[in-house]
Symmetry: C2
Amino acid sequence: MSARTIAQIGEFTLIDQIEKMLPSGLTADLLTGIGDDTAVLDWRDGRAMLITCDIQIENQHFRRQHISFEQLGRRAMTVNLSDIAAMGGTPRFALVSLGLPDALLETNIVDLYQGMQAALAPWNARIIGGNMSRSQSDVIIDITMIGEALATQVIRRSGANPGDHIWISGFPGVSAAGFQLLEHYGNRVPTDLTPYVRAHQIPIARNELGQALATCGFVTAMIDISDGIAGDLNHVCERSGVGALLHETKLPVPPGFQRVSELVSMSGPELALHGGEDYELLFTVAAGTPAHALVEIGNALNISLTSIG
Amino acid sequence: MSARTIAQIGEFTLIDQIEKMLPSGLTADLLTGIGDDTAVLDWRDGRAMLITCDIQIENQHFRRQHISFEQLGRRAMTVNLSDIAAMGGTPRFALVSLGLPDALLETNIVDLYQGMQAALAPWNARIIGGNMSRSQSDVIIDITMIGEALATQVIRRSGANPGDHIWISGFPGVSAAGFQLLEHYGNRVPTDLTPYVRAHQIPIARNELGQALATCGFVTAMIDISDGIAGDLNHVCERSGVGALLHETKLPVPPGFQRVSELVSMSGPELALHGGEDYELLFTVAAGTPAHALVEIGNALNISLTSIG
């Protein structure tokens, strides 16, 4: 091992290396360890506990001038709700670790918690612990989320088979486009492009969809698109030991995407494949499953589902 | 609510206020919510799951020049092991969120994980998930720890009764004194004071002691001394609805403490009462319990236990 920096070797290589250092066997209590959207523990009565954590750091994941504290609270929670969604689970409990600069206002923190609670409310999920600490200048939010699912219905990254079709929910790239619009225009983003900005500020986790896909019986693997389609599809391929053929022309294109991609000087596929932070679900479907079965699930929840490979 | 900053209102007041915003009721799954060393969930077969998280931020909790990455990993894990100890539990699983500046070396991260695993090894506990993110300049480590205990043997902050005696393990103030020695002398701390420096660099969580105290039957409340005796005793009093009388003269004094306190220009009681980060256990014992019963528990584990109030 040489004296390479993290930047030189890259996040994913580093994660692979760390994973090799850690014990990987499963036990009666541990049903899935490192390497999926969440770890899975045995709970009771046939239930599995899904557990995940995700850190959001100012100027890495968000800028304070682009997002209110209420939105930031929602967003930080949604990032974790989405990992529960990707396993097909229901959110239950959250723990919140905060690093807060001294100069923040009391009202900022109250807004932050209101945002977090608003994101949990549809699931009747609750904050049950956490801690606060001072930070030098950046707001840091690390949330641990606990969800549940029937142990027999948990969908993992590792279940894809050769011949499966690849599907995606929503319009990946919209959140990254919104972030770029904010970077270019600040609070003067053209009003007809507000939906893009909203997708960055208030992303929605696909928990209802995740549950429907987990129970429908023909979804073999699933992941949330937090790193962009390219990276996350690659995770599924690695875990499942399969290859993937993606049809770039099949990527779903939202209204106005062409114009936005010109405004921010990034191509549509670049935004969709590498943008990340969309919190849509990418999933594989057993070969031979009729497309209309998927479309019906999407229609029932008013979420567009697209076969992309 | 006025536009006060966090610094103006203080961490504990802010936490109290946030707690009031959050729902507090318990359910079949949730046995203890916010306000203890860990949250407690029902697991199965009479077991309780203890869950907690704690964030460590560079230049707030540690300085990179005072501690190696291996030590930092141990320390960040120990902070969380200690919360499990304070409930009387056994560590089982950990999730690790990291914020890492680009310029860190690959070897730094490997050392960090080796330190974390070394801290978990005595309990056969394992890292089962986490995430890595870039940070601007500071190393950020947030760990979520899952422990277990028999549901009937969990010791909470809220169990103290009027007339109980207050006991403490080890020598609180030693870690803070070690930190101050490093601040004053850097790597030229007098060698006979190395144990102080070690107490800051490699604190030990009291899980064996916590388990022994939880099962002995006469401990009514327990907390770990991460904020210093004064603050943490106050937490027990608030949760238990009792007052406390502390005998400052009874505080245990380690060898050389007088000299160290002169070297760093802080009084012994100041270090012990407000220093924090010792990860010793403070606990209350039912009135009438013979002192020798406690002393025997301490002797068996080679840990000094002292009645302080």
